[in-house]
């Protein structure tokens, strides 16, 4: 089990769960970060992570990305 934050750019992963508080995990899931969904890391530098989920690119602060638990695929 690793967090989305630790993935290098170009990696694809399956979401296992969101480990935030009620409001944050709810908001993330409603934006499409639901368990089972595939995410792709588009860009990852020292700043926020850019990920593609359900056809949309979303910037996530590293603190947020750390709360999304994933399993890399491929």
């Amino acid at each position: 089990m690793i967090s989305l934050e630790s993935l290098p750019p170009g990696t694809r992963a399956r979401i296992l769960g969101v480990a935030g508080g009620y409001g944050l995990s709810r908001r993330l899931m409603e934006m499409g970060f639901t368990p089972g969904t595939i995410v792709e890391v588009v860009n990852s530098g020292p700043g926020p992570l850019l990920v593609r989920v359900r056809g949309v690119v979303i910037a996530l602060g590293r603190g947020v990305a750390r709360k999304i638990i994933v399993q890399p695929i491929g």
């Binding site: 769960g17 969101v18 009620y22 409001g23 944050l24 995990s25 709810r26 908001r27 993330l28 899931m29 409603e30 934006m31 499409g32 639901t34 368990p35 089972g36 969904t37 860009n43 530098g45 020292p46 700043g47 926020p48 850019l50 989920v53 359900r54 056809g55 949309v56 690119v57 979303i58 910037a59 996530l60 602060g61 603190g63 947020v64």
Partner: protein, 707 residues
């Protein structure tokens, strides 16, 4: 339904789905902007006549869901169940149906009277995304219309569908049922509880049951207000029992089940064809989010855009540059023909003519003075702000509509995190360099309430253009060498911007007791050429808002200031020196002894600072007027007889204490709290005093050490 009745349509959609564009196309213009009752969430309305019927469109805030995680989401769903809208128009982005259908499903679970608009049909087509509209209609049971707001296609069909659903000719009879598998028996259980107590009759019972099982705080709050404590207890007990026996999170299960339905629908109705447009990121896109090149490039784009905007408006910095290169005449021309220069000229002219006409008509003195010295300059100062605001918003709308904006916010996020802000705070802060009023209003972009309040509180410390004018006037009068002038100007900006960021950080750490910076979650739309139409709509929309809200207040306050300056305890004052304003100035004058300023100069300075409380550009003018108006501005400023150190310390004070009354009005409107407004005022005055005195005495100390 009678022919006369107005059809009310609530427009819902995710952010970035093209909602404001479609809204403006449908209604022509926004007829009415207000806040949703009891919130700072903006409510826009517009009208449209179609097939002999009047349709009223009400724009719901852009949200990803109608759970109750933000005020926007609560506003949206409570309006839908309020009984006012006849139809809910839900916008689904055809370039990202797998994400944006989620909101449509949620609304369909709440009400059957829905029309779905598939937006951005043109971009979807070029990306090779095709959606079977008929099949989607079949799946959802409501009309689905493919539209392209920019090409104007699909609008008639959309309006037809809206009228048909409003009249009950098309659409569903009952809300959509999503299959929640193992949760179903429990949903039935809560439904029967709700019917037993007859609680929440305005909501669809199944929808309310699901939400209550998820732990919806807002519904519980409503139940509590209506005295259903026992029902809440029963539901909570049930919820704990389910979580314990299944070991699963109900909310997660509900959202996942809904997305499973979205996915199964999308698999059947969406076809993706590979085209060449699918889609390598452009060089600009890559550079903007590059960890090293991104932040400077983003800042450069913003600074260029706003410098151009400022130059158009006040001539700065073009005039200074020309002056510096020895073209002082050209500099004057640039200043005179800048937008605010032109408006100034027009209003001075108007004032003169009005005075002549009114004096000739033998109107009483006080009335002439009220109109000519109070109302006309008041309206004039609103209007001279106006081009600045329009120009800033044009720049901002271009950056926003092109998709560059969110990328800049991402690239500067790390820097702003140090000060307890997210990258999104760059906009209010940059706008603040132009004018603090829209800067405070731009705090709305923050999703976190704490960050929003940090911005409302700290953005007014940023030196705006009006303060720049004062800084320029004083530095050119009191510092002879260009090097010293430049040092004075730049150092004041650095002090002010540092204090802005520090204020925000202190507020987060001490007031809100938060160690972590705000979380950044921001959708990044593809970069595209901005549409002139959209840019103009956005600009006009924002600017009109400013005119209505700030405008009224500024005019009212100008009249109040006029009264303070024109009346003395014994009626109409014969000169400014006898006025209430001067009396207040004289009362405050002893404080200036702290800066080593005494006597006549002290009360005149205090009085000028008091004027600057209303509007900073009035500060220099007041000093000129008090010295008889015959001296040039520079000579009048020098007549105050300050040392360069005193002048610099006063400038620091002037920059930091309350920007102007219009900004205070903006703080009040955005915070909706008189207490916050008063506290912000006290904070800024205290900050200004402490910092400027520190500067003054450090300066004195250094001087004695050197000599």
């Amino acid at each position: 339904m009678s022919e006369k009745k107005v059809i009310v349509v609530a427009v819902a959609g995710n952010p970035n789905v093209g909602k404001s564009t479609l809204f403006t196309i449908l209604t022509g213009e926004i007829a009415h902007v207000a806040n949703w009752p009891g919130t700072t969430v903006e409510r826009k309305e517009g009208f449209r006549e179609y097939r002999g019927k009047k349709i009223r469109f009400v724009d719901l805030p852009g949200t990803y869901s109608i759970s109750a995680t933000s005020p926007e989401e609560i506003v949206a769903r409570e309006y839908i169940v309020s009984g006012e809208p006849d139809v809910v128009l839900v916008l689904v982005d055809s370039t990202a149906p797998e994400r944006t259908l989620n909101l449509a499903i949620q609304v369909l679970e709440l009400t059957p009277r829905v029309v779905v608009a598939l937006t951005k049909a043109d971009s979807a087509h070029s990306l090779g995304i095709h959606i079977h509209v008929n099949k989607l209609e079949e799946k959802l049971g409501v009309p689905v219309v493919l539209v392209s707001a920019l090409e104007g296609t699909g609008l008639r069909e959309l309006l037809d569908a809206v009228v048909d659903v409003a009249e009950g000719k098309k659409g569903r009879k009952k809300p959509l049922k999503v299959n929640y598998s193992w949760l179903e028996p429990h949903i039935a259980e809560v439904e029967s509880l709700l019917s037993k107590y007859n609680a929440l009759p305005e909501y669809d019972r199944r929808w309310a049951a699901v939400k209550l099982l998820e732990g919806d705080l807002r519904l519980e709050e409503i139940l509590e207000q209506r005295g259903f404590e026992k029902l809440i207890e029963e539901i909570r007990r049930l919820r704990t029992a389910i979580t314990r026996s299944t070991g699963k999170d109900i909310g997660e299960h509900v959202i996942t089940s809904r997305f499973n339905l979205v996915d199964s629908i999308a698999r059947e109705v969406v076809v993706r064809v590979k085209t060449s447009a699918v889609s390598e990121e452009s060089l600009l896109e890559k550079l903007l989010i590059h960890p090293v090149y991104g932040p400077p490039l983003g800042l450069l784009v913003l600074l260029l855009a706003f410098t151009a905007a400022f130059a158009l408006n006040t001539g700065f910095p073009l005039n200074i540059l020309l002056d510096f290169m020895g073209f002082s005449e050209a500099a004057e021309v640039v200043e005179e023909y800048s937008l605010s220069g032109l408006i100034d000229t027009v209003f001075n002219y108007l004032s003169d003519i009005l005075r002549q006409i009114m004096v000739r008509a033998k109107l009483p003195d006080w009335l002439v003075s009220l109109v000519v010295d109070g109302i006309v300059p008041g309206v004039g100062s609103v209007l001279s702000f106006f081009p600045l605001i329009v120009v800033i918003y044009i720049a901002l709308s271009i950056i926003e509509d092109s998709g560059i904006g969110p990328r800049i916010a991402v690239s500067v996020n790390r820097f702003f995190n140090y000060f307890g802000l997210s990258g999104k705070a760059i906009y209010p802060l940059i706008i603040g360099l132009g004018c603090n009023v829209p800067a405070v209003m731009a705090s709305r972009a923050s999703i976190e309430e704490e960050e929003r309040r940090q911005i409302i509180f700290s953005a007014p410390i940023i030196p705006c253009q009006a303060r720049l004018l004062v800084i320029l006037a004083f530095t050119t009068a009191y510092f002879t060498s260009p090097l010293h002038q430049a040092f004075a100007i730049v150092s004041i900006y650095i002090i002010a911007i540092f204090l802005t960021l520090l204020t925000s950080l202190l507020m987060r750490a001490l007031r809100f007791k938060k160690k972590e910076p705000p979380e950044l979650i921001l959708e990044i739309p593809p970069i595209h050429k901005p549409s002139l139409k959209v840019v103009w709509w956005l600009t006009w929309d924002y600017s009109k808002h400013f005119l209505r809200k700030a405008g009224t207040i500024i005019v009212a306050l100008s009249v109040a200031t006029w009264w303070l300056l024109s009346y003395s305890p014994s009626g109409l004052a014969s000169s400014v020196e006898e006025s209430f304003g001067a009396i207040i100035g004289k009362t405050l004058a002893p404080l200036l002894a702290l800066y080593g300023i005494y006597g006549e100069n002290a009360w005149k300075t205090a009085f000028a600072l008091l004027q600057g409380f209303v509007a900073k550009e009035a500060l220099v003018e007041t000093i000129a007027v008090m010295y008889g108006g015959t001296l040039s501005t520079r000579e009048a400023l020098l007549a105050l007889g300050l040392t360069p150190l005193q002048a610099y310390s006063l400038l620091v004070f002037m920059t930091l204490y309350v920007p102007c009354l219009a900004t205070l009005a903006a703080i009040f409107f955005e915070s909706r709290s008189l207490r916050t407004t008063i506290f912000a005022t006290i904070y800024m005055v205290a900050l200004a005093t402490v910092v400027s005195l520190t500067v003054y005495y450090t300066g004195l100390l250094l001087q004695t050490l050197v000599s």
